[in-house]
Amino acid sequence: MKKVLMGNHAASWGVQLSRVKMISAYPITPQTHIVEELSEMCGDGSLDARFLKVESEHSAMASVIASQATGVRSFTASSSNGLALMHELLHWAAGARLPIVMVNVNRALAPGWNIWADQGDSLSQRDTGWIQIYVEDNQEVLDSVIQGYRIAESVDLPVMICYDAFFLSHTYEPVDIPSYDEVDAWLPPYTPTNHLDPEKPKSFYPLVMPDNYMEIKYKFQQAHEQAIGVIDEVGQSFGTSFDRYYGVVEAVQCEDADIILVTSGTITSPARLVLEEMRQKGEKVGLLKMRTFRPFPVKAVQQALNGAKKAIVVDRNCSWGKGGIFADEIKSAMSNTTDAPMIYSYIAGLGGRSITPDDIRGLIEEAIESDSPSSESVWKGLKL
């Protein structure tokens, strides 16, 4: 069934089709529609789930941790300052190896008070141990929520699906909604590795002495390393069933490219237009879409970028005092490799500022002209 859906409702459909059993969330613009729709789905019986109203995002995360620990597929959603309020419990959810899926609608952190698109909120949660997937359009929102449960439950790690405020959350476009039967055939019911059960008492999350702590954390890191392969496998398997393929990254015409654009989120879409146009003119341009940020797909990035002369990374975020976060991670991934491209780092589109095909064309032209990149990230479109 194809319908014209806003990104937020595409997320709600993904949750419904995944037969989630527990939802808890606190409203915050621009995420609110997701849980509004889910509460209606619970109300009219189209989704057989418990909808728990809570007094804060901290409590929302605490309650999905509790429900997931009892072996129940759980969901929450947030954005910006709401996600920041969850911070402590994000560490807990991941460390407890709970395969929760949440949606974060990427929105700037205040102040300056701003409700628009910016990846600073979820990227600030980089080291909480959550898998982070950044998506490009409303179809990918729905598909990634469903894939999110399969990934999470395969490696016992929580998954955060991130997408740009308003550019997706409030934008209506066609989405192919699979049937329950199709999703049921692909996503089996959740069978927990360990869960709280009064019939079979066990002790969970005890004090861990220095003698054992490192080993637990090593296994946690191993799960992340394993997740890279799992995200690719799940994306391929999803494609086999639904004819839409996904992976940790998407490399478009990188094989013979001299210049490769590196993007995430909705910036990828206008970049595709520019790529097509430049290729028609005979310019050897490629595109690397960073779908996964944690675990960071080092090998996939090396494979796509090695051999190119220049890579242009566009970041809708900034690590204050350092620069574009994707650019920084990509530089680190490319270090100690031979044949790495020069890496140009640009910051653009913060706080919801539009990024047009013209803007991207401008970055490529600038890189073509340049002999070597600046060591700092360059801010584009400043009106100083």
Binding site: V4, F166, H170, T171, Y172, P174, S269, S354
Partner: protein
């Protein structure tokens, strides 16, 4: 690709109008993209919504700055904003007004069409007489003046998207379709 910008005031349903037209154009086999100017939705304040209609998938993710078509839902906006900003040479304008295109001072630069959507909405008891909800009437008039969507698809989209008084809303769209002036 056709780019459309809708101007209205918060509460008149400009965003829903954009969605109704998107649903109608999609039902007729197009790709569509519809979104509000983000964050300005306040009752009575000038608001904008954007709509793109294309044969193939749309990859642009920014506001419509050079529209092919402008729709004005509120006649009082004529004095407040320049809704022709960026409108392409020979672009089209559809205005909710009791006036005729000849009475407006735009006709030589743009293709202008008019519909008295406020009266049609009030006649069909949509909103109140002082603040009628004109979006469904405007959608009907858009079908007529643009030819980009059929009136049947618009009425079907209204039935699907408007939970309150769907019949009156569909009728208002058809009356507006019939009474659009060029």
């Amino acid at each position: 690709m056709i780019e459309i910008r809708l101007h209205g005031r918060g509460g008149q349903g400009s965003v829903i109008a954009s969605k109704i037209l998107a649903v109608a154009a999609f039902a007729e086999g197009n790709w569509v993209q519809s979104f509000p100017k983000f964050g300005v939705e306040r009752r009575g304040a000038p608001v904008e919504a954007f709509l793109r209609i294309a044969r193939d998938k749309i990859f642009i993710r920014s506001e419509v700055t050079d529209p092919d078509f402008v729709v004005v839902l509120d006649p009082s906006l004529v004095e407040v904003i320049d809704f022709t900003t960026g409108l392409k040479e020979n672009g089209s304008i559809l205005i909710n007004t009791p006036k005729t295109p000849q009475e407006l001072d735009l006709s030589d630069r743009f293709k202008v069409s008019c519909v008295n959507a406020s009266k049609i909405a009030a006649d069909h008891r949509l909103g109140s007489v002082t603040s009628p909800i004109v979006n469904t009437a405007i959608c009907g008039a858009f079908a007529r003046s643009s030819g980009l969507v059929g009136i049947d698809a618009v009425c079907e989209a209204i039935t699907q998207e408007v939970p309150i008084k769907p019949e009156n809303n569909s009728k208002a769209a058809r009356v507006a379709f019939e009474s659009t002036l060029f």
